[in-house]
Amino acid sequence: MSAAVKERSREEYKAQEERLRTVWANPTGWRYWTSVNNFQIGLWYGSAAFAFMLFAGALALLMRLQLAVPDNDFLSAEFFNQAFTLHGTVMMFLFAVPIFEAVAIFLLPPMLGAREMPFPRLGAFSFWSFFLGGIFVCGSIFFNAAPSTGWFMYPPLATDKEFSGIGADIWLLGLSFIEVASIAAAVELIVGIMKCRAPGMRINLMPLFAWYLLIVAGMILFAFPPLIAGDLLFEMERMFDWPFFDAARGGDPLLWQHLFWIFGHPEVYIIFLPAIALMAMIVPTFSQRPIVGYSWIVLAAVGTGFLSFGLWVHHMFATGLPQISLAFFSAASEAVAIPTGVQIFVFIATMLAGRVIFSTPMLFGAGGLAIFVIGGLTGVMVALAPFDWQAHDTYFVVAHLHYVLIGGMLFPVVAGLYYYYPLIDAKQLSDRLGRLAFWLMFCGFNIAFFPMHLSGLRGMPRRVFTYPTEIGWDWLNLISTAGAFIFAAGVLVVVLDVLRPKHRQPRGELNPWNAGTLEWISEPEENWGVRSIPIVRSRYPLWDQKDLARKVNEGRYYLPDAEEGWREGLVTSVLDAEPIQVLRVGGTSYVTIVSALSLGAAFIALTFHWWIATALAAIICFCAVIYWLWTGTGEIPEKPEKNVGLGLSLPLYASGPDSVGWWAMFITMVGDGTAFASLVFGYFFYWTIHADFTAGIAGPDAVWSLVAAILFAAAWGLMVAARTFNRRGATAAMRGLLVLSLLTTVGASAAGLAGPWSPGMEPTRHVYPAIVWILVLWVLAHGAVGTVMQAYCLARSLAGRLTPKHDMDLGNVVLYWHFLLVTAVITFTIIGLFPAAM
């Protein structure tokens, strides 16, 4: 090679790099906040979650001060009740779940050798929703308006306005909003992990963190929707007096408990598994060998994911359900300990098979496991119904859950912070401060929480703002308070270590721990994730593929350039990660903030019953989302294929199951279907608890209901036909069918409405009309969204953005209609025919 050629290629390389850098660059100034890059979003997400954690921790310290001595009057009963409600709520919804979403958004793209998550704007939307909702919920306590009915919000205490004020609405609406954000994150994670891994990263080579996150995102999809359905029923009762939980009108407080804990227990594992996932990255690095029992970890993650859905009634052991029911849940709660044990033994086995460097992250990890095992063992105890009858709702459970969550989640997260901090600014946290923090936290934690086992067994119930002296709780509580402050001092040391200025500290190595996974080649200064997308041939590519880092950074692999000025990544196949498409993702945009803030405004206005503001905000949000979809999705590329390097040419457009959009729709609709299933569960729940669940009220007209079901089916059929005609190039026919289907949907909705309308069912009178109405409204709302989608496709077609070859929009809408068909047919058959059949 001549010197001139070499010189030219170096220049070309520089130009490539510059183009890539420009495309991925963050906006500057205040526009920085419109960034959608996964590093920024992950960092903001994580920092916000940590800040919320500190806030909730401060509330806990106030509570501990109040409980330090008997008959204390440091806090009023009212404030204490708000404090413990917010403490639980914030720790669960604003710290534990979001922190893992943050870590995942930050880490997954570089770990999978991808440039970005598949839907960066969705990630930004999720963050802003979370942030706004969090501020709203937390801020309420400064106006003495915080929820005060416990993070579990049991009706009738939380539904009846006589017992609970606006705090309950703030909880419901603020958190519904955050739940939406979580589901958005789950969609992003699942698609990202299944479809956006680096070429060659087959599922047997995927980093364990990704395996865990895949399972956890799947769990979110099935765990959060029941809560959203519950929130819907709850808010309908609070706002419009529909008696879902009012026993006097046929409702039942226990339905809420079912829906809440169907969410609530998997939630514990949704929190715990990602933390263990961090351990699964840390332990091999410091054992300096690949993990032993990769498949066992997959077994444990999947097994826990499933079993965790069979545990919810163990929160309801004292509600008087038949003992045979309790026994099933005791059994599953015992079984879930097996996969949990497997994970611990995988770590032990890996350490035994390697030589361990006992660093600060390992210290936090090991300390966390020692704590967690105690929590696990007490968990096995309280999982047995008889023992739980004694321990339930006492400080024994408070101790148990903190041992599980702090040992199983907070310690590993801090371990992860010490481990991954160099990825943020190429500097390490202090080892000395880290060890100091560990010992303060470890000792403080045990001093605070171990005595609670005993105070619980001595009869101290949870959620008491004070207690009398001389019944054996005094010194136990005093010790707990002292421990809580030592623990807090440890957390403070961590915070100081993170915040202390580090500009004098020299830039560290890129991979200071000599780790084996891909995230350690990403340079904190660059936004592109990886300079070029590598071909992966190992579980620990940095250990096994010797010159991988160099070749990646020299742009020798895929997509080293951004000649068309797009942010691009690769889509690969699920099992073997063969490259199949170039994915162009959305860049910096205001639309995410506008839609998140307007959606938030709608929820907040709803809390205060400001109907006009609600409507306005909802309209803004609707327009923003439509604008977002119109300008940012389903773009028809300027050429069908693109050369991605290494002699490979890939299509720039995909529709149907090949496209990531289709998967996102599918996953969203699975979550949606779960929420619907929860409502149907509610219908049959009321049937089981009453001898005659209709209470003699005339049900919806069977004929109208069947007509609605048939018309919805017809609308669905027309949609499928529209897609087929479009593919054949019959554009005019497709447009006609879309219009026809839209009209049919309107007719179907009218028929659906006529069902409960014609016999004059009043939803406030009894729970039977209320549950029928909510099911009908659910279908009608979905029908309305369906018509918007039809109109959208029509507009896209007229604007030339939907063509016979580029039919991603239509494909996704038809997928939506598959789910709508099932929803409508099930609803109208049940409400129309079931009462007569019984």
């Binding site: 029992g293 097994g303 045979i324 029911s325 097996i338 579980r539």
Partner: protein, 126 residues
């Protein structure tokens, strides 16, 4: 027609056994709950419920055993030990087989756990 399906190339087979566990769990729980709430609806005794649980358990265990056998076959009947970390389609298949086998084992145990209440409880008790 083959009695045992050929190897299927999909991620979803991994979840067969846990899905069977979930179905079995739901059948047991819902069946018992409905019986205890509306005994007059079925008109049978609690022993019938226990028999039903036993039947569901046998079916679930057989399905899981089948899934385990398929997984074992996919793993080459245990001829190739983990870690299955070569960048080949073969190792990916072996990994899937082994992981599915492990999950079948866990689900098998979990189904037995779920069925145990029916051994000890002879009425709804509420």
């Amino acid at each position: 027609m083959r009695l045992i399906p050929k190897q299927i190339e999909t991620l979803w087979t991994l979840f067969t056994a846990p899905v069977v566990w979930a179905a079995h769990f739901l059948v047991c729980y819902l069946g018992a709950a409905i019986y205890c709430a509306k005994p007059e609806l079925v008109g049978l005794s609690f022993s019938a419920v226990r028999a039903g649980i036993a039947a569901a358990t046998v079916i679930a265990l057989s399905l899981i055993a089948l899934s385990a056998w398929l997984a074992w076959r996919q793993w080459g009947f245990g001829t190739d030990d983990p870690p299955h970390d070569d960048p080949t389609r073969r190792d990916r298949t072996l990994f899937q087989g082994f992981a599915t086998l492990l999950l079948s084992g866990l689900s098998f145990i979990a189904v037995i756990f779920t069925a145990m209440p029916a051994l000890f409880l002879t009425e709804c008790i509420r």
